[in-house]
């Protein structure tokens, strides 16, 4: 085989659950093929071998929640030719952004007996608030299929094809009857970006927004519909304030119902 320089891939983790980078290890059928195409230069979850940067492609999982990470992300950016953030933590602050509307010091006292040892920021923020990001991949967790699409698009030097329409489109395509229409089950599908494959409605529950807001979502109209389906104001706050609480359209909608 002719030897050429393989592109160097690195994976970094900030505040997160490891789930998004685990998606890569969960690509059982493709993992060895991917490993053949790129040099896995730094992927601590999988390997103790670390190759120095710069890296051609860097995947970042997790949000910025500490002063240390707020600095570290600049180093990561400098070492990255192409930086892709993966998952709701990295693209919207993740579930830990629930602190953003509360008092993080009270949180720290509640969980830890010695909160003075914690160095934590008041807000959990997405990577794009700190450095330039080349591509954001949504999901809590990201979809394996979309992750592989990002990797192969990168290897082919093209832009990843990741739709920004709603989960409703995926439901239709899958032939799942609408859970709101058929059963009156509250569902965030109409305002949530596709990508998961519309799993929740296929399992007879409403979408809960893992992939964050679609492009120009009409959250106000959905909130009215959910209200008609019996969701009260605190329920609306909770619905919009979960894994993508920090994404602007969801944050704004949740704040509206907090005041009512």
């Amino acid at each position: 085989m002719p030897r050429r320089e393989k592109p160097k891939l690195a994976v970094f983790k900030l505040a997160s659950c490891d789930g998004c980078q685990l998606s890569l290890l969960d690509c059982e059928d493709e993992l060895l093929a991917v490993a053949g195409e790129v040099e896995i230069a730094s992927f601590l979850e999988a390997s103790r071998a670390v190759v120095k940067g710069p890296y051609d492609l860097v995947l970042v999982e997790g949000s910025i929640t500490t002063p240390h990470d707020a600095e570290r992300i600049h180093q990561v950016r400098r070492a990255a030719r192409f930086l892709v953030t993966i998952g709701a933590c990295a693209t919207a602050g993740g579930i830990q952004a629930l602190r953003n509307s509360k008092d993080v010091h009270e949180f720290a006292r509640y969980v830890y007996p010695s909160p003075q040892y914690l160095e934590t920021l008041n807000k959990s923020t997405p990577i794009v608030d700190h450095v330039f990001v080349d591509f954001e991949l949504r999901g809590c967790p990201v979809s394996k299929r979309q992750l592989l699409e990002v990797l192969s698009a990168f290897l082919a030097g093209r832009k990843p094809v990741v739709p920004t329409y709603s989960v409703c489109v995926e439901c239709k395509r899958r032939g799942t009857p609408c859970v709101m229409v058929a059963r009156g089950t509250p569902c965030l599908g109409p305002v949530t970006q596709a990508g998961c494959g519309a799993i929740c409605p296929a399992y007879e529950r409403g979408c809960y927004g893992c992939f964050g807001p679609m492009e120009s979502p009409n959250t106000a109209s959905l909130a009215r519909t959910l209200g008609d389906h019996g969701v009260d104001a605190p329920g609306l706050v909770r619905a919009f304030r979960s894994f993508n609480a920090g994404a602007d359209p969801f944050r704004r909608e949740s704040e509206i119902h907090e005041q009512t």
């Binding site: 490891d18 040099e39 103790r48 399992y203």
Partner: protein
Amino acid sequence: MSRPEAERPAAKGRTPGTAAPRKRAPASRTIRVDALARVEGEGGILVRVRGARVDEVQLRIYEPPRFFEAFLRGRAFTEAPDITARICGICPVAYQMSSVHAMEAACGVTVGGALRELRRLLYCGEWIESHVLHVAMLQAPDFLGYESALHMAKDHPGLVAKALALKKAGNAIVEILGGREIHPVNVRVGGFYRVPARRELAPLAVELAEVRPVAEELLRWVSGFSFPDFSCDYEFVSLRHPSEYPFCEGRVVSSKGLDVAVAEFEEHFVEEHVAHSNALHSRLRARGPYFVGPLARYNLNFDRLPSGIQEAARRAGLPEVVRNPFQGIVVRAVETLWAVDEALRILGSYDPPPAPFVEVPPRAASGAGASEAPRGLLYHRYGIDARGLIQDARIVPPTAQNLRTVEDDLRAFVEANLDLPQERLVWRTEQAVRNYDPCISCATHAIPLRIERLPG
């Protein structure tokens, strides 16, 4: 990719760290691994050695805290399985199971029959997936002297590919029953949102039957590794059920005589502030550090394994009580084989339940739940109000419970192996931590991280 000398594959059965010492170790040295690889989450090790004594051991946690218990307050009790799953992408099912059992205990509901069987099936999937990931991808490379499974795959492509197929079968259970492998969507308080028809599960039985020989082969393979002779006087802690190998039910028992209900957990276990690391460590109020995970489960429940699995364990050279944490890899392989069989048993007798869930009306109460995550006992307790809003939450993950024991192991292990050259000792020390399959993402919300700049 070139491999530096120390990373060359050792001959089968030869492990890194067993080479004869080349020269006397220096009088004072520091073993420092800044970013520990092949664990879930971010941590490092610091061991300070003076002469023949270990001065200080720290398993340092960089993982930022995420405050789950704090923001669970005010959320609906039905949201706990979805939210707590996000503590750990490696064992979301464990979080879902401990949380739903705690909520059901609070509301005075028990879930039985086919729903209970389906929960066990889901848990089998997670054990298979997580154990095979750990055994083949994270831990085996240590025994054979590779930096990673991908490096290992170059010399053992068939084996790594087979292990991936086994792992995939575990993931397939979680995906079909749960909707997706990571953070499944189908688990709810009271049962499931939708239960599968028999025909939906049929392909799983085929896939599992196909990979069962791989689980046997994996067990044979790892049982042939050589294990450093090492043990401490551990107190093992796990659930124990009257008749089954434990998943979500049973009493909390220990190898030193503890035997209490899950609801009494907090009377017997405390989280302590340890001065040297400023990390929270769980300890048994009466005795101190303890050990949870596959070794503990196996040691305390050997008699609950079917005779065929007991036989497989014996053939793999395991005694009924395993005290060497380096052999944890073999115990994981035994549990993997058991989980494949248990899943096949459940699939073989599955009849869909009449309803996908039982109603769980909320009431003002507190409830505790515990289940056996792949890495060990995972305890949850919630207080909820009459509307079902969470008032109070407490989560004790397995890795937090093992931290004291890991540090004790490191101290003893390093002291016993000071003759090794530095590079090998460092690798071996990392390996001693990976024995516990530590999940630092899980542990962190119970461990304040201490940013301490230590002189190198």
